[in-house]
Amino acid sequence: MDTDVADIHDIGRLVQFGLRSDALPSAEPEYRQLLERYNDDSDFSTLVHAIVKGLGLSVLEGNRRGLILVPTDGSAFEMRWSDYRPSSHTTDDRLLDGLINVGIMATVFPLSRDLEDDPTLPRMPITVDEVEQTLRSLAAKMHLASHARLDLVSGTEPGMIEAWRVYWNRSEVGVSKGTSRSTRGLIEYALDFLRKQGCFTKVQLNGRAAHQPTWRYHILVQEFSAEPLYLSVRALLNDNSAPGES
C-alpha cells in the first residue's frame, strides 16, 4: 500500500471535519467525498484508523451522515469536567453535573431496549421539566425511604451522605445568580452544552421549547457511554453481572 502525501492530507481534513460537531456532509461537498472514500476504499479507511489511533481517537461511526470520533483513555481529546463548566469548583457542583448528564441519558433512553433502536430514527424530544422530574422523583423516593428507615444524617461526615441528598438539597429554581445554581439552571446548561456538541437540536413541542436528540447522541450513548457507565457502577457496587443479568 503506497501512502500518498495527498492521502495523509485528506485524512487530516476528514479528522478535522469529524471534530467539528456542526459539520454536515450534505452541506460540505469535501466532507461528503471524504466519507464516500472512507466507506468505499478499504486502504484509505485502514490508514484513517491508524492515524486516528495515533492521535488518541477512535472512529465510532463513519457513514454518509458523518464521522463520529471518540477519545481513547488518556487522550488529549478527552473531555475534562473543567472544560465542561469552568465555574464548577466544588465537589458537589461536579457531582450534580455528572448526575444531570446521566439523567439526560436516562430520560432519552429510559428502557434498555431503547438503546437497540435505529439511530437514524429520531427519538422523542425532551424538556428541562422531564429531566428535572426524572432526577427529582428518584431523589424524592429515596428521601421517603430514608424517613421510613429513620436515617440519621446529622453528625454524619459529608462523604458518607448519599448522592441523592446533594440533588435533593439543591433548589429546583434559583432566586439570584451566584455560584450555587439551581438544578433547572444546571440542566439547561447541560442541554445547551450538548447542543453545541451536536448532540441535541432545539425544537418546539406543543408550544414549549424542547431538545431533540440527534443521530450523533444516539450513537454516542448506545455504543460509547452506556456500557462503561454501567460497568463502572457495577464495579463500585462490587457486582460483576453483565447488563441484563441483574
Binding site: 471534530l19 460537531s21 454536515l24 450534505s26 477512535s58 472512529v59 465510532l60 461511526e61 463513519g62 454518509r64 470520533l69 471518540v70 477519545p71 487522550s75 481529546f77 478527552e78 473531555m79 475534562r80 457531582l95 455528572g98 448526575l99 448528564n101 446521566v102 441519558m105 436516562a106 429510559p110 428502557l111 434498555s112 431496549r113 438503546l115 435505529d118 439511530p119 437514524t120 430514527l121 429520531p122 427519538r123 426524572t134 428518584l138 431523589a139 429515596m142 458518607m160 451522605i161 448519599e162 448522592a163 441523592w164 446533594v166 448532540c199 431533540q212 455504543e223 460509547f224 457511554s225 452506556a226 456500557e227 462503561p228 457507565l229 457502577v233 463500585l236 457496587l237 453483565a242 447488563p243
Partner: protein, 549 residues
C-alpha cells in the same frame, strides 16, 4: 372433537411459530431473532407477539370453534384457515389507531370538530409515499403546507374562516396521533385473540404507522412504516414481491381492456410496492453498516440478495413491456381526450418503477463487498455488547443511592466517556494579539446622562436642632458674663418661656463646652463642674460653671 393426531399435526404444521419476541426488559433475543424485526415485510412472517394465558383450558373446545370443519377436513386445511384468519385480523387491527383518531374528532373543541382526521391522515400517507426515497422527502413543514388547501376546504364546508394557527394545531395533532406521541412515539400495542392449537389465545400486536427519519441534509423527515404501506395499499395476504407482481399484472390487464383510470390507480400502487421493496433492501444494507451482528449473513441475506436479483430482473422486464404498451396506446388516442393523460401517466409511473429497480441492482451486487468492508471496519470499532443496560434502573438510580464520595469518584472518572472527542485547545499567539488589538466597542449614540451627586457636609449634631433653635440657644450662651452657672442660664431661658428644645440646646452647648473636640481649636466658652446638683426646669444632674474666655 378433534382427534389427538390432528392436534399434533397442527403443532407440527409450522404455520404457528412457537417463538415470540417479548418486548419487556428481560429480552435475551439473539441477533438472529433481532434480524427478523420489521425490516422484512410483516406479511411474510408473524409480527412480534407475546402470548398470555389461554382463554380456554387445553383440550376444551368452543362448540363453534371449528364449525366450518368437518370430520373429513384435513389438518392442513384447518391450520391454513386459522392462519389466514389471523393474517386478515392483523390487517384490520392496523386500522385501529386511525379509527380511534376519527372517533376523537367528535370530542374536540368546537373550533376543531369539523376537520376529518381520517381523510387528512390518508392524504398525509399519500404525500409521504410520493416523496419517500427521493432527495426531497417530506418533513412536517411540507406536509402542513400540502394539507393547507384541504383544511381551507373543510373550513369552507363548515362556514368558518380559515385560521393558520388553528391549521397548525390540527396538523400537529394529526402527525402526533399517527406517530403515537401519547405513547412516547413507541409502537402502537393492541391486544387481540386468535385461534391456535384448538385454543383461543390472547396476543399483543405492535406496529408503527408513521416514523421520523434523520435525512442526510439534516432535516427530520416523515416515512410510513411497512405496516402503514400495507394498510394503505389494502394488500391483504401478499408479501412485497407477490404484491408487486400482482399490481403490475393488474396494470397490464386493465391497460389492455381500455380501463385507463383504473390502470393509473394500479400503476400508483405498483410504484408504492417498488418504494417498499427499495426500503426493504436498503434496510438490510443499513443494518449491515450499523452492526453486522444484527443481520444474518450466513443464510437470510444471501437468500434475500439472490431472490431480489431475480425479482428485479422480472420486474424490469414487465415494466418495460407495460411502458411500451402504454406508448403504443398513446399513438391511438387523441391528445385532447383525458385518456391520453392517463395513459401517459401510466407510462411515466412504469418508467419510475423501472428506474428504482435498476438503481437497486448495483446495491445488491455490491452488498457482499459492503459486508466484507464492514466486517473489517467493525473489527476496529469499540462496540458495546449486545446486552444493553438500563440507564434509569441500572445506572442513575444506583448512582443516586451511592455515598457522595463514591458517586463523585464515579463522576470524575466518567467525563472521558460521557462526551465525544473535544478538539484540543492549543495556544495561538496571533489569535491572542488579534483579540487584544480588536477595535473598541462603539459607544452608544446617546449614552445615559451622568449626574454628579451633590456633596454635602454631614454633621449629625447640627441636624439634631433646627437652625432657629440653635441660634436662640447660642444667644443665651452669648449673654453669659465672665462666669455663670448653667442653672442660672436655664432659669433665665425658662422665665422667658423659651420652648423645651431651646433649653435642651442650651444644655447641649454647655456640655460641648465641658468636653470640647480638640480638633476644633479654641472655643469662646469653657465649662467646669460647679460642685453642686442641677435641678432646674426639669433638667437634673451636675451643674456646670460657664466661663467666658
Amino acid at each position: 372433537m378433534i382427534a389427538p393426531r390432528y392436534l399434533a399435526t397442527l403443532a407440527r404444521s409450522g404455520h404457528f411459530r412457537g417463538e415470540s419476541e417479548s418486548k419487556d426488559e428481560s429480552c435475551q433475543c439473539s441477533p438472529r431473532l433481532r434480524a427478523r424485526a420489521p425490516a422484512v415485510s410483516f406479511m411474510s412472517t408473524y409480527p412480534p407477539e407475546t402470548q398470555d394465558q389461554p382463554v380456554n383450558s387445553p383440550g376444551e373446545l368452543e362448540p363453534d370453534l371449528f364449525s366450518g370443519a368437518t370430520a373429513e377436513a384435513t389438518p392442513i386445511e384447518l391450520s391454513s384457515w386459522q392462519a389466514q384468519l389471523t393474517r386478515r385480523l392483523h390487517v384490520l387491527l392496523h386500522a385501529d389507531p386511525l379509527l380511534r383518531m376519527r372517533r376523537r374528532d367528535a370530542l374536540q373543541d368546537s373550533e376543531l370538530r369539523h376537520y376529518d382526521s381520517l381523510l387528512l391522515a390518508l392524504r398525509v400517507f399519500d404525500l409521504i409515499i410520493e416523496r419517500t426515497g427521493l432527495e426531497h422527502e417530506a418533513d412536517q413543514q411540507q406536509v402542513a403546507a400540502a394539507l393547507e388547501p384541504h383544511l381551507i376546504a373543510m373550513d369552507g364546508a363548515a362556514q368558518k374562516e380559515p385560521d393558520p394557527e388553528r391549521h397548525a394545531k390540527v396538523v400537529d395533532r394529526l402527525i402526533g396521533a399517527l406517530r403515537n406521541d401519547d405513547g412516547g412515539r413507541r409502537a402502537f400495542k393492541i391486544r387481540y385473540s386468535a385461534f391456535a392449537d384448538n385454543r383461543v389465545l390472547r396476543h399483543h400486536l405492535e406496529f408503527k404507522l408513521l416514523r421520523e427519519h434523520f435525512h442526510l441534509d439534516g432535516r427530520t423527515v416523515l416515512r410510513l412504516s411497512d405496516q402503514a404501506l400495507n394498510l394503505f395499499l389494502n394488500a391483504l395476504d401478499l408479501d412485497i414481491e407477490d404484491a408487486q407482481a400482482a399490481a403490475e399484472a393488474v396494470v397490464e390487464s386493465q391497460l389492455k381492456r381500455g380501463r385507463f383510470a383504473e390502470a393509473l390507480q394500479s400503476a400508483n400502487n405498483a410504484l408504492i410496492q417498488s418504494v417498499r421493496y427499495q426500503t426493504k433492501v436498503e434496510d438490510v444494507l443499513r443494518d449491515t453498516r450499523r452492526d453486522i451482528r444484527r443481520v444474518d449473513w450466513r443464510e437470510d441475506v444471501p437468500r434475500l440478495i439472490e431472490t431480489a436479483l431475480d425479482h428485479i430482473h422480472m420486474r424490469v422486464t414487465v415494466e418495460q413491456a407495460i411502458a411500451r404498451s402504454a406508448e403504443e396506446k398513446l399513438a391511438t388516442i387523441s391528445p385532447e381526450r383525458p385518456e391520453f393523460q392517463q395513459v401517459a401517466e401510466i407510462a411515466r409511473l412504469m418508467v419510475n418503477c423501472q428506474r428504482r429497480h435498476q438503481n437497486l441492482h448495483p446495491h445488491l451486487l455490491d452488498a457482499r463487498r459492503v459486508f466484507r468492508i464492514e466486517q473489517d471496519r467493525q473489527a476496529f470499532v469499540p462496540r458495546a455488547s449486545l446486552q444493553r443496560p438500563n440507564l434509569l434502573a441500572g445506572v442513575l438510580e444506583p448512582m443516586l443511592s451511592m455515598r457522595r464520595s463514591e458517586a463523585s469518584e464515579l463522576v470524575n472518572q466518567s467525563a472521558g466517556f460521557l462526551f465525544g472527542a473535544r478538539p484540543a485547545h492549543t495556544f495561538s499567539l496571533s489569535r491572542l494579539i488579534s483579540w487584544q488589538l480588536r477595535p473598541r466597542r462603539e459607544r452608544r449614540a446617546d449614552p445615559p446622562p451622568i449626574i454628579d451627586p451633590e456633596l454635602e457636609e454631614e454633621s449629625p449634631d447640627v441636624f439634631r436642632y433646627p437652625e432657629q433653635v440653635r441660634e436662640r440657644a447660642e444667644a443665651y450662651i452669648a449673654t453669659v458674663r465672665d462666669t455663670e452657672t448653667l442653672s442660672a442660664v436655664l432659669t433665665r431661658a425658662a422665665a422667658a418661656a423659651e420652648p423645651e428644645s431651646v433649653l435642651d440646646a442650651i444644655a447641649w452647648l454647655s456640655l460641648e463646652a465641658f468636653a470640647p473636640d480638640p480638633e476644633e481649636g479654641e472655643r469662646p466658652l469653657l465649662a467646669i463642674h460647679a460642685g453642686r446638683a442641677l435641678d432646674v426646669a426639669g433638667f437634673k444632674g451636675d451643674d456646670l460653671t460657664l466661663i467666658k474666655e
